[in-house]
Amino acid sequence: MNWRTFALLSSLMLFLFFPSMVFAQVQTRVRIIEASNVGSTTDPALRDVHDQLGSLFNFSVYRLLKDVNLNLVGNRTVEVPVHKGRTMEVTLVGEYRTMVELRIKITREGSPILNTQVRLSSGRTILIGGPRHGGGVLIFAVSARF
């Protein structure tokens, strides 16, 4: 096998397998919501998910604290500061034809309170909730578009 044949076959192999190894950019939306039972107003910015939240949780008030759009690329962690020393770190760890794999880490004062890895198809939402915030709790709504 001469060098030209070798180069051609290598290019062919790369062409066949390269797309599955490369990470494209994934747009991820993180909404940080405060949910409580103090009052009964709903943030107009959450109108699109209010019914969804209402069918899942028993809170009367949902207030949008932060709405962040992240452009994730492979294995690069993006940090989203939350309230009072809490931070959320999102990393794109895998990408398939119909879904992406995200590693999500939530820390409080530097120490991790949650480590999770989730698979998201385009348009699907993951809600992470529970940490106390004021009179209510925090809910992180994570969704991806690709």
Binding site: R4, F59, T98, L114, T116, G123, T125, G129, G130
Partner: protein
């Protein structure tokens, strides 16, 4: 002028230009020793030749052949240097490879085998991932964790509880 002169007139020019064979040279020289007309014709040719030689030599001496040669060399070099497109085309030229006909079925067989291997792997990966829960793993040192799937199947909830006595907020 004799009859033999007309038959030798063509040879006389060749003789002057030193292009005759030995036999022709002997023939011409034999004739010239006997024929004054042809001798005069030859001497006329020599004179005319001399008249032309001198100005040609002078013109050649004046001409800068070094400069001309440099120009020619540059032209040759530029023709030899192929463009990057030509280089790429020659590099990508697979015709020598395809001339060896054994490569064509070998390449086709390789492609078929690769596609047979790759397609099921890709399909299996996607179908199995779809069936799996969207939460691959979850861990928390400070909280109890519950995973809840929405009824419509497009929302997954990871809920963190402070302690076992906390009331479940899910409706």
């Amino acid at each position: 002028m004799k009859d033999s002169c007309s038959s030798l007139s063509g040879l006389l020019e060749k003789y002057h230009d030193q292009e005759v064979t030995d036999r022709e040279r002997l023939l011409v020289e034999g004739h010239l020793s006997e024929c004054s007309a042809c001798r005069n014709l030859l001497s006329g040719m020599v004179e005319l030749g001399n008249l032309l030689k001198i100005p040609v030599r002078e013109a050649a001496e004046k001409e800068d052949f070094h400069w001309v040669w440099q120009k020619v060399k540059r032209e040759i070099r530029e023709r030899d240097r192929s463009t990057w497109r030509e280089s790429l085309r020659s590099w990508l030229d697979v015709s020598p490879l395809l001339r060896k006909r054994v490569w064509v079925p070998a390449l086709a067989a390789t492609l078929v085998i690769l596609s047979l291997i790759a397609v099921p792997v890709v399909m299996r990966e996607n179908t199995s991932l779809v069936k799996l829960s969207p939460v691959e793993y979850v861990e928390s040192q400070d909280y109890n964790v519950m995973i809840y799937e929405g009824e419509k199947g497009n929302v997954t909830v990871i809920w963190l509880f402070d302690g076992p006595d906390e009331e479940v907020p899910i409706s």
